[in-house]
Symmetry: C2
């Protein structure tokens, strides 16, 4: 009998698209394209010499254990170090609250695996992180986007939504958000709204997933408390990552949360990938124990701060006045809103012809919105290329706006 | 409102047990215990010097790319190398057929994520690999065990089962099996049964997941063809792993299968962990390109062959005649069957008091069977400790059998 693949695919995987996005990314990553599309950290800042040293020391000192299978929950010493680090961020926890993951993306996936029944409501910021939207969809969760403004998600709109579904005996499983320097907008959730969100979670009985890959990369203003540090009822599941403050290629992140949830997540992880890669965990541990983190993060802040300012300044200089964008105080991203008559995807295709790229914003929305929005990342390009790229896009935008004026006046 | 965790757990995760098994393993892994429980490769054979060299060369030559995020489907050069390697095993494939995974356990998980709707029937060998049983359960698949004998799964019983459910308009999504030196029995599927299995898959329209972590570790007899090499209808999804033939701590495995399935799996993986760790992938690549694999696998075969023979000989010498066990021609495991009146778990507790351990077999079965069975792994202990450990267990078994005789004669 010849094979009909469609008969075998599970319902959850039917929605999974082919590789359209991935194909697009391979376009933007051609060598001669100045791309603001990807959200990678700059490889120029990887602490290569220290990585080299730590690897050699480990191979000599740690013996063989760093090449062997390891505990599903993570290497013991690394877990202790992460708890120590979290304490400095105002979060207390014990070993039983912590699970090392294969990047924080795996943390999101395991949370969805643990919590989502098909049809369960999951709230997200809108626009929100694509990787989280994808993970929720893979477990057939029902995504509901809560709009944002300059202070993060609109807690007033959130409250009205909760009142409505509460009346109909509905339930929200959890809200996923990136409170600090959000991907894709760069916006941070204000202190008042953090407090309000905690109150709403308690009153309407839902969990909060706080994903914080960029928190350490603050370029100005004062630190805001982590939601996890305000969490009296153990409702917050915190996701941390070493990808942006150390190196991403080793895939080491962590989840910190309520013991009972973590215990189940460890069991789920065991059948998911047995354990996260051990070599990478020892590498992070060596970097931490060597006392390198503080200085390295300081360096990263300086470098990325400059890039952020260069991009903002270039936008101010080269972008027509009809264009608006966020002014992030940290992280990797600036969110751009074009006039409603500009379709960001079509604009992107024109930009690609001129060897410059960004990501159009539609994919960051739950529904069919965001046609005139885009995410710009300043993390990977040099300051020089940032200026050149933004100038190019500015020229294309000028032309677009002029031609639309002509069309309108005809 | 205080938090009731039970209200949040998804149905699929309700069955997930706490850490009973993990706690047991921590018992068996105390330093003074001679443990045949774990299935780890021996760290004594890790090619440490070559690992060191490759890492240093990569850090100097490959530049920064081995520390950066990488493609979800895997590092391009590694994928080419794996395809080349598969060709030597009689399997042709293109890049679009291949996905690098975070260990082959992730391959199993992604296959389940892609294929299983709650309630779908998945067939497994009985006894079968615990990690696969766990993954299927996590997606609420219905596990059906097919019994084995010395030639692997009983294809006659499989056929009768298929006839029965076919009559009732039922369907099997896939069968998962480890045809070479199976975990936990060490048994290999005979050539005739391989052929029969392929015919049945075609006739009754199901997929085959062939997991092959031990195939290269054959200590005697002739190689049998991979199911994947006999696969004319693209029904076989092949899982490969570097954990047993190189090092496990870097978590690098692969899936090779029908293009449409692989494309969807890549998209699923993207929301699961973005990409597998890149450093580990370059490490495997360096080892492969350096031409080290062949010689290393030859060495492993010699070393493990000796251990296997030492354990078999010790069992023959020290185990009472009422005990039976498999005689594997490769891999890491020997499967032991005690007389029906011996409960393997209780026996294990007695053994632990004498500082020797194995895994009792119950967990490898789908239902409540296998109370008098156990898995013994010879991979990790030294030849000396294998003899000491088996002698100790032999003495405990003698005592057990004698005391049961006394009870019976009273």
């Amino acid at each position: 009998m010849s094979l009909k693949i469609g008969d075998f695919i599970a319902k959850r995987a039917e929605q999974v698209k082919g590789s359209a996005i991935r194909e697009f990314f391979s376009l933007t990553e051609q060598e001669d394209v100045i791309s603001f599309a990807g959200g990678f950290p700059s490889a120029d800042y990887f602490p290569l010499e220290q990585v080299k040293e730590i690897l050699m020391e480990n191979i000599s000192a740690t013996g063989y254990s760093f090449l062997q299978y390891g505990p599903t929950e993570g290497v013991g010493q690394l877990r202790s170090s992460i708890l120590e680090y979290m304490q400095r961020l105002g979060v207390c926890g014990e070993e039983s609250n912590l699970l090392v993951t294969s990047g924080s993306q795996q943390g999101i996936d395991l949370i969805c695996k643990l919590l989502i029944n098909p049809g369960d409501t999951v709230l997200v910021e809108e626009p929100g992180y694509v990787g989280a939207l994808g993970a929720v969809k893979n477990y057939e969760g029902k995504l509901v986007g809560i709009p944002m403004d300059q202070k993060g998600i609109r807690t007033d709109i959130l409250e009205r939504y909760l009142q409505k579904i509460f009346k109909n005996n509905g339930k929200v499983k959890f809200i996923y958000l990136v409170p600090d320097f959000q991907n894709p907008t760069g916006i941070s959730l204000s202190f008042e709204r953090r407090r309000r969100l905690m109150e709403l979670a308690s009153h309407y009985d839902f969990l909060i997933v706080e994903d914080n890959p960029y928190g350490e990369l603050r370029y100005e203003g004062e630190k805001l408390p982590l939601l996890k540090s305000m969490d009296e009822e153990q409702r917050v599941i915190y996701l941390g990552s070493f990808s942006k403050i150390f190196i991403p290629g080793i895939r080491v992140g962590w989840v910190l949360g309520f013991k009972e949830l973590i215990t189940k997540m460890i069991s789920l992880k065991q059948s998911t990938d047995l354990c996260s890669n051990i070599l990478g965990q020892y590498l992070v541990l060596g970097f931490y124990q060597g006392g390198h983190f503080e200085q390295h993060v300081k360096l990263l802040r300086e470098k990325y701060r400059r890039k952020c300012r260069v991009m903002l300044k270039a936008m101010e200089h080269y972008f027509p006045s009809q264009i608006h964008w966020t002014k992030p105080k940290g992280g990797f991203f600036i969110w751009v809103t074009f006039p409603s008559y500009i379709n960001a995807h079509e604009l992107l295709l024109k930009c690609l012809k001129e060897k410059v790229a960004f990501v159009d914003g539609k994919g960051f929305f739950c529904g069919c919105r965001g046609d005139n929005t885009a995410r710009f990342s300043f993390s990977e390009q040099t300051e020089e290329d940032i200026v050149i790229g933004i100038e190019r896009i500015g020229q294309i935008l000028e032309a677009e706006i002029n031609s639309s004026r002509l069309t309108a006046s005809r």
